[in-house]
Every structure is written in structure tokens, then in C-alpha cells.
């Protein structure tokens, strides 16, 4: 640096002693280390054991393997499309454009839980329905529903714990029963939710399943008034109980039936808003709200087209439950933000991969007359 001090500056500073220079350099080092340390802390490098979206997604991959191009959960599915016809009943609760009396196009996807895109259909696999409503003002509403009346886990950490416990033992090919029991002992809310789930009769197919949004949200209307809400899609196809055993059925029997039904006639569901009362828990998806809450039918979903993953626009949609239009807001349920985070991680991974053919092929979804 001595050469710089020869430059024509107006006032010459007294040179620093060696000790002072060292001390000042150390101070600079400490300042830089503190900033870098704070940044590293925020980025999670100092807490490698914390549960992150990446670690959560890794757990799905450890249990079900990596299947390039597929969702890390609900990997097996088909795309559907149709429209939602709002009857205007929702306007009272929410200013969201989707509730204005109108028709809006909908893209969706039926799926089965788990990370294996080639898994055999079974009656007790969780059935999923993701929907995207394309609103006329360019807004988008995405919902992710399943056929369980309540969610078995209260927190993302509990979900993760259960996921890890469900990893098949390499010797038996089945999850370790002791690990599963230990999880249930720690999580009585899961046991309670499972009892509620078992108490509900299982429908025979996708077409006559009721799909639940599970989480509470908040609706805000044009006067600014806000109410807690949960939503449910109730099928207009008649209920039929699932047969006791799904063994002996074709590998894709649930999807094959859905495809045949949609080709026969459009499938319909009513979108029901369940309006919460003050004091109803909004942070806990394992607990159903008391019976007798006001249920408002806000419109009809009609699905009249089915596509394989290869050709469906739904394939590249991340059914993030927090893609909401103005007039619908998240509740304090901790699973909502966690789902948004993990879905995003799964989406980013699969979008960068070369997709393998899906189990339900474009030939499978073609109309057979």
C-alpha cells in the first residue's frame, strides 16, 4: 500500500504502527466473519439437523426412490379439465372473483399418494385431487385435496417423523412396526385422526369420492369481514362402497374406471364451503370442526376431459395450496406454509429432470367406442 501513500493527497496521515495495523486488519476480519456467519446461519448451514424443504423431499425419495420427472409424492396420476360454475352463494363470504356467478376453466389432476409413479392402484391408497381455477382477471386459485376427512398429522415435523418411520425395512420389505408404534405413542392426535378416517366409508372410485381441503383458510368479503372456512368437494355421482379386497384387480383399476366414466359422461362435484365459528381450531388439520357448521354450496365442478401426464397441462402445475386469489387467505395452520415449501422443492427437482413415461399412457386415456 506504500505506493498509494505517495499519491498527492491533501493531508498525509501518520503511518500506523505494526501493532495498530494488525489490530485494524483483525477488526476487519471479525466484521466480515460476523456478516458471513449471520448469512450462513440464516441459510441453515450452522443447523444441519433442522428440518428443511430439501430434507423433507429427500425423505420422500428415501422411502419411494427417485423417479425422474415425477412428483415426489402423489406421483401416479392423470390430468383432467373442465369448468367450475359458480352460483354466487360464496360472494357473501369472499370477494374472490371465483365466487362471482360465472364459469371459469379448471385444470386438475387425480392422483394416488406415495412417490412411486408405477404403484398398483389400491382402495386404501390416499386419493388426491389438485385443481387450478383460471380466473378471468388473470388470477389463479390452486387447491390440493384428498379423500380423507381429516389429515393424520398436525405439524410438518410429525409428518416427517411418520414418513421416516414408514421407510421399508430392507429385510422384510415392510415398515418397522416398532418404529410406527413408537410414532403413534408420541402422537395421540394421529391415532385420533386415524379413528375418524376409519369411521368414514371408503368410496369405490375417484368419481364418487368426497375430496377435502383439510386445512382452514380465511375468506375476506368486500366489506373486509373475515371468516374461517374449510372446503369440501362432494360428488354428484352416487356413492358406492369400495369392495373389501382390491387384490385381483387390474394394476390401474381406479384410473381405468375414472377414464371410462369421464368418457361416458362428465363427472360433477359440488364445492361446499364449511363456515367456521369463532373458537373453531384453524391451526390443526387433524381435528374436524363440530357437526352442524353452516355448509354453503357455492358451485359445481364439471370434469369432462382426461389426459395422460404426457399431454396434460396439469403435469407442470405445482398444486401449491397457497396459490390463492385475493379474497382467500391462509390460516395459522403450520402445514400450509410447509406444504408450499416442500411442493416447491419437489417441483424444482422434477422440472429439471427428463420425464419417464407415466403408468397411465396416452393410449390408456383414449376414448374406446
Amino acid at each position: 500500500m506504500s505506493t498509494h501513500l505517495e499519491a498527492p493527497v491533501q493531508t498525509q496521515r501518520r503511518p500506523l504502527s505494526t501493532a495498530s495495523t494488525v489490530a485494524r486488519l483483525a477488526l476487519i476480519g471479525v466484521a466480515l466473519a460476523l456478516v458471513a456467519g449471520a448469512f450462513a446461519y440464516l441459510g441453515g448451514w450452522l443447523t444441519p439437523k433442522n428440518l428443511t424443504p430439501a430434507r423433507f423431499t429427500d425423505a420422500f425419495q428415501r422411502v419411494d426412490g427417485v423417479h425422474a420427472g415425477f412428483r415426489r409424492n402423489h406421483a401416479k396420476g392423470v390430468g383432467v379439465s373442465g369448468l367450475f360454475e359458480s352460483n354466487g352463494n360464496g360472494v357473501r363470504f369472499s370477494k374472490a372473483v371465483v365466487f362471482h356467478p360465472d364459469r371459469v376453466p379448471v385444470i386438475g389432476r387425480f392422483s394416488l399418494s406415495g412417490g412411486r409413479p408405477d404403484v398398483a392402484d389400491s382402495a386404501d391408497a390416499v386419493r388426491g385431487l389438485g385443481l387450478q381455477f383460471n380466473l378471468p382477471d388473470g388470477e389463479v386459485w390452486r387447491i390440493a385435496m384428498i379423500n380423507l376427512p381429516v389429515f393424520p398429522f398436525r405439524t410438518p415435523e410429525a409428518f416427517y417423523e411418520r414418513l421416516v418411520a414408514s421407510k421399508p425395512d430392507p429385510n422384510t420389505g415392510r415398515p418397522d412396526p416398532a418404529a410406527v408404534q413408537a410414532f403413534l405413542d408420541r402422537h395421540p392426535e394421529t391415532v385420533q385422526a386415524m379413528n375418524v378416517i376409519k369411521g368414514q366409508p371408503l368410496a369405490s372410485g375417484f368419481d364418487n369420492s368426497t375430496f377435502h381441503g383439510l386445512h382452514a383458510f380465511r375468506l375476506v368479503n368486500s366489506t373486509g369481514a373475515s371468516v374461517p372456512v374449510r372446503w369440501v368437494l362432494t360428488p354428484m355421482q352416487p356413492f358406492e362402497a369400495a369392495s373389501a379386497a382390491s387384490s385381483g384387480q387390474a394394476k390401474n383399476y381406479l384410473f381405468d374406471a375414472l377414464i371410462a366414466q369421464i368418457h361416458r359422461q362428465p363427472l360433477r362435484w359440488q364445492l361446499i364451503l364449511v363456515i367456521g365459528q369463532p373458537g373453531d381450531p384453524t391451526h390443526d388439520a387433524t381435528i374436524a370442526w363440530p357437526a352442524g357448521r353452516e355448509r354453503v354450496d357455492v358451485g359445481t365442478l364439471t370434469l369432462d376431459r382426461v389426459d395422460a401426464e404426457e399431454t396434460s397441462a396439469a403435469t407442470d402445475i405445482n398444486f401449491d395450496p397457497l396459490v390463492l386469489p385475493a379474497g382467500i387467505s391462509p390460516s395459522d395452520d403450520p402445514l400450509l406454509s410447509a406444504r408450499s415449501a416442500v411442493y416447491s422443492q419437489s417441483f424444482t427437482r422434477r422440472e429439471g429432470e427428463v420425464t419417464q413415461p407415466s403408468a397411465i399412457t396416452p393410449a390408456d386415456v383414449r376414448r374406446r367406442d
Binding site: 505506493t3 499519491a7 495495523t21 476487519i28 396459490v323 410447509a338 408450499s340 415449501a341 417441483f347 422440472e351
Partner: protein, 174 residues
């Protein structure tokens, strides 16, 4: 302390406002990708803040043409001047490119870019999964690069203030 010509008041205001915004942005960015519970809240700030930075960097560039910066201190060597200019260019470039890559990657994924309420941005790129994946990666790499550039900038000003003592900080001090 040698007298140093100062940046004009508008330039100083823009510098410190954006310094706070960019540092907040880098911290939110690195924290949100490892967060479950706070992910949504952080993303909801990240997007409008990124667009605000994009708008301000354009304002700042125009301001720079109207109010050129004062000459660098005579204490700086040729190499130091080149390094200072290069890091300045890098930071201007990153403030412009990072929000654009973010906007572009969400566009390529057809992910709604909500700023507030029903206010959302149009898509600036075609729907393309692989394009999204590449831009998503680029967004991360550029953000780390920005943090490193910031560290060099911060280290250099500390060095000038504590070791060279040429009053460099006074040029930009609020």
C-alpha cells in the same frame, strides 16, 4: 482526513435505501429456501421486494447519468480503480438481472407472480419446465455471487476507512 468530494444527496439516498433492500433480500432469499413454517411469509415479501429493487435500479441508473459519481480518491492505484469499477458494475448488473431471472423463472413455470392482493405481474417467458429449472439454479448462483460481491465491497470500504484512511466512506456517508 483528506477532503473528499461527496456523492449528490439523491445518489446517497438511493445507495443506502437499496443497500438495506438488497441485504434484506439476500437474507430472506437464503432463509426462505430452508424454511417450512416461515416459507410463505418470506416468499410473499421476496417477490414484491425484488420488483421494487428492479424499479429502483433503473431509477438509480438514470440518476447516475444525471448525477455522475465524484472522482475516485487519488490514493487508489490503477488496479484498485479497476476492481472498484468492476465490482460496481457487477452490483448494478446483479440488481438488474436477479429480479429479472426471478420474474422469468416464475413465468417459465407459469407460477402466479402476486405482488399484493389481485395485483400480479404478466409472464415474460414462455411456459417451459426445463427453462424454469435452469433459471431457478441461475437465481441461486447469482444470489451467492451478489453476496460475495457485497462482502468484497464491505471489506474494501473497511480497509479504506481503517487502514488507508483516505476518507473513502465520507463520499457516500448519509
Amino acid at each position: 482526513m483528506p477532503a473528499q468530494p461527496r456523492f449528490p444527496a439523491v445518489s446517497r439516498l438511493l445507495h443506502w435505501t437499496m443497500a438495506v433492500m438488497v441485504l434484506t433480500m439476500l437474507c430472506i432469499g437464503v432463509a426462505m429456501v430452508v424454511s417450512l413454517g416461515d416459507y410463505h411469509a418470506l416468499v410473499s415479501i421476496h417477490r414484491p421486494l425484488g420488483i421494487a429493487i428492479l424499479i429502483l435500479v433503473v431509477v438509480r441508473f438514470v440518476n447516475r447519468l444525471i448525477n455522475p459519481p465524484p472522482p475516485l480518491p487519488a490514493t487508489m492505484s490503477r488496479a484498485e480503480r479497476m476492481a472498484a469499477t468492476a465490482s460496481e458494475l457487477a452490483m448494478y448488473g446483479l440488481m438488474l438481472v436477479l429480479p429479472l431471472v426471478g420474474w422469468g423463472m416464475l413465468s417459465a413455470a407459469r407460477y402466479p407472480i402476486v405482488l399484493h392482493g389481485s395485483l400480479h405481474l404478466p409472464f415474460i417467458l414462455p411456459h417451459n419446465a426445463m427453462l424454469y429449472a435452469v433459471l431457478r439454479k441461475a437465481h441461486t448462483i447469482l444470489a451467492y455471487l451478489f453476496f460475495l460481491t457485497f462482502m468484497a465491497h464491505f471489506g474494501a470500504i473497511l480497509f479504506h476507512t481503517l487502514i488507508v484512511r483516505d476518507g473513502m466512506l465520507r463520499r457516500m456517508a448519509p
